[in-house]
């Protein structure tokens, strides 16, 4: 499964980011979310900037200590094994993985039922099958 945004349904409310930060950080702060969905107007139209885990698994492959693994269709992070090398942050093509005071923060699909998808009011954010 991977997150996908259907842009024509998205209203840019950031409820997905608020739901994520509440679920994972126990505060409201869109910047701490493990995804980003921003829509902004420009002179030429409505632009979307997204940062969503596509389950490419590059982070799993590059982690030298197996701190990030792929289990039951989602990522699992073990902070005890993390050496803060930063490889996953650098290599994540979607810029979803970010650093924390201790270790990193990644999208683990909330263990299978992502809060962001549950909160999206117009079903613009979906959890879809990937190969």
């Amino acid at each position: 499964m991977a997150l996908k945004l259907i842009e024509e349904l998205c209203i840019g409310c950031r409820l997905c980011q608020l739901a994520c930060s509440a679920a994972k950080e126990e505060v409201f702060n869109p910047e701490l979310a493990r995804l980003k969905v921003i829509s902004t107007y420009t002179k030429t139209g409505l632009n979307y900037t997204t940062s969503l885990c596509s389950m490419c698994l590059i982070c799993v492959g590059i982690c030298p200590t197996e701190a990030i693994t792929h289990q039951d269709g989602h990522l699992v992070y073990d902070q005890d094994k993390c050496t803060n090398c930063g490889s996953c942050i650098t290599e994540c093509p979607e810029k979803v993985i970010t650093s924390r005071e201790q270790g990193i923060a990644l999208c683990d699909f909330c263990g299978g039922s992502p809060a962001c998808v549950e909160w999206c009011p117009h079903h613009a954010l979906i959890n879809q099958e990937v190969n």
């Binding site: 209203i11 608020l18 509440a22 409201f28 107007y41 002179k43």
Partner: protein
């Protein structure tokens, strides 16, 4: 809980800023947003000051819910003394600025004084800096935002003004994210008078609430069962353009400067017509509905037009060309002007021309002349100098006061009060002049079960609606979520860890309405100002469901007297001392 407890006070004259504690008792009594902003302004502003002088203040106020996951809680209240009316003025603006300000650590900002040169304020958490804006001065509102994004950060949030506000036009607005406006009463001109082109903010902080997981679960249930319902989802499927058909059917669609209540070409400017040019949808921070219709037509793109622009800038000017209305909307947005007041002054000038009182070269339905006006007003050029005065002052200069559609200097929104008599009372008693955001009895009268052509029961109806909106805009929630006062109380209770009843919130609403009234009384306003243009009292409408209708003056006076009596105000509209004491205002 859920306040940052901090206010940022900025002296624009010196460029110095300081952080102070939020007055906790006032936060209990007035909550936030509209109410708390009015309280601060009432306490800090000397009576009689000139609104466009350095003595006026501009207050930006978030609310208890701002920055949380509560749906439709993304709005910011902006409070000042209006240069258009001389009354209290609070406007609310959507977008993402309010949440960003709270993440930066502030419940509100009080802007004082006047910058010595064109400047913009940049707030990044605890760092506050008044910066040179010489390269921004003269730029359109949208252009200014693009430059700020380029200079600061692609995701910076900003309040900006356009050239109209720089030129102190009293129908200028404050803009955010291209198409969201604090629109009415010349709030933009106050910013312009302070040489303040923009306020930009980046915040990195977090907001904590008690038992957050339980809170989020509760709110998700509220969103699914109370927000995303048929009662509210018209906002997403159609948005305000839906009102064109409703108002045509009920005979309250302002046409040719409120000469008629129906428009033959209404189908060219209604929601179905707008859907043919819609290219996207947009909401504000934490909005679950998304009212914004992104439209493209001809050489213009705009989020809108909203109903008010379709009616006041469309049928009320005799304009049925949707592409022209979209261009008018786009022009006003980038110049930074309120489409309601600009549309009204054009319509008034068209009627002055039609009647031979003063020839402005404007005729109902003349698209080319109509599209030239926004630029002329903003630049204060040609007829724009006169039209920039607004309807009231223009009528004082040239005549036509009987059909100058304004109250206290603020032009009418798009609801004909001869087809909704309670709306007449709502316009007359609104704290900022003719406004549909203080009470909107149209829903009960024109669309609902109440007889629109009687004053019976309307005083209490308007009072109840004014209290509801005053509480809602103090929380601060968007107008488009039709939630009950009881649900509002539940939301507050969840955050405050105490039970806040519907009655307590109603009392807050009443307190806010009375304090706003007291502000206006202090400025010299009285019953004489709580009135409507003669057209409403004397002229009958000629078409549709309101054919033959007018609002007899004696009926209006009866309704107004009952309103004062029910409110505990004297016969001159002044709140009695006992009422002010009861509400804890004095």
């Amino acid at each position: 809980m859920c306040y940052t407890g901090k206010l940022l006070r900025v002296n624009l004259t010196t460029g110095q800023s300081q952080v102070e504690e939020l007055n906790k008792q006032w936060a209990v009594d007035y909550i936030g947003g509209k109410g708390l902003g009015i309280k601060y302004l009432y306490e800090e502003l000397s009576p009689g000051i000139e609104p466009l002088s350095a003595e006026n203040k501009l207050i930006l106020m978030t609310g208890l819910f701002t920055g949380t996951i509560i749906p439709l809680s993304g709005k910011l209240a902006i409070i000042t003394k209006s240069p258009a009316t001389g009354t209290i003025l609070d406007c609310s603006i959507g977008g993402h600025f309010a949440a960003e300000l709270k993440y930066a650590g502030y419940d509100g900002v009080i802007l004082e004084g006047k910058a010595t040169k064109p400047s913009y304020l940049y707030i990044e958490d605890q760092n506050v800096e008044l910066r040179d804006a010489s390269e921004l001065w003269g730029q359109g509102a949208q252009d200014t935002e693009l430059i700020l994004r380029d200079k600061i950060h692609e995701d910076v949030k900003a309040l900006v003004i356009g050239p109209a506000a720089e030129n102190l036009v009293t129908m200028s607005c404050i803009t955010s994210e291209f198409y969201r406006q604090a629109g009415r009463g010349g709030v933009g001109a106050v910013m312009g008078s302070k040489n303040l082109k923009a306020v930009a903010v980046k915040g990195s902080g977090s907001i904590s609430v008690p038992n957050i997981k339980q809170f989020v679960d509760t709110l998700q249930e509220v969103m699914r069962t109370d927000t995303l319902t048929d009662t509210n989802l018209w906002v997403n499927t159609d948005g305000t353009p839906l009102l064109v058909d409703l108002n045509q059917d009920t005979g309250i669609l302002p046409t040719r400067n409120f000469q008629e209540g129906t428009f033959d070409d209404y189908q060219k400017i209604n929601s179905d017509a707008l859907k043919t040019v819609r290219t996207g949808k947009k909401g504000c921070f934490s909005c679950a509905l998304g009212c914004g219709n992104y439209s493209r037509s001809g050489r213009s793109t705009v989020e809108g037009p909203e109903y008010e622009t379709l009616a006041i800038g469309g049928s009320n000017c005799g304009i049925s060309d949707l592409e022209a209305i979209i261009e008018f909307n786009d022009l006003c947005d980038n110049l930074g002007m309120d489409t309601i007041s600009v549309g009204n002054v054009i319509a008034f000038a068209m009627e002055l021309t039609e009647k031979g009182i003063k020839d402005f070269g404007l005729k109902f339905g003349d698209v080319d002349a109509y599209l030239k006006v926004p630029g002329l007003i903003a630049a204060q050029d040609g007829i724009g100098v006169d039209l920039g005065l607004g309807v009231k002052k223009l009528s004082e200069k040239y005549g036509g006061s009987d059909f100058a559609m304004q109250v206290k200097g603020l032009e009418f929104p798009g609801y004909e009060p001869r087809g909704s008599w309670g709306m007449g009372l709502a316009y007359a008693t609104s704290d900022r002049g003719a406004c549909h955001m203080r009470a909107w009895p149209v829903a009960d009268e024109a669309y609902g079960d109440l007889d629109p052509f009687t004053v019976e029961g309307k005083a209490q109806l308007v009072i109840d609606l004014q209290h509801y909106n005053a509480a809602k805009f103090s929380l601060i929630l968007c107008d488009f979520w039709a939630l009950s006062m009881e649900t509002m109380g539940t939301l507050v209770s969840n955050l405050q860890e105490r039970t806040v009843s519907e009655q307590e919130l109603t009392l807050v609403g009443e307190r806010v309405v009375n304090l706003a009234r007291q502000f206006n009384v202090r400025e010299g306003y009285s019953k004489d100002n709580d009135t409507l243009p003669e057209r409403i009292f004397k002229e009958t409408l000629k078409t549709g469901a309101t054919k033959g209708q007018f609002l007899p003056r004696e009926e209006f006076e009866k309704m107004l007297a009952e309103y004062y009596s029910l409110r505990g105000w004297d016969h001159n509209g002044k709140p009695a001392e006992a009422k002010l004491q009861e509400l804890g205002i004095i």
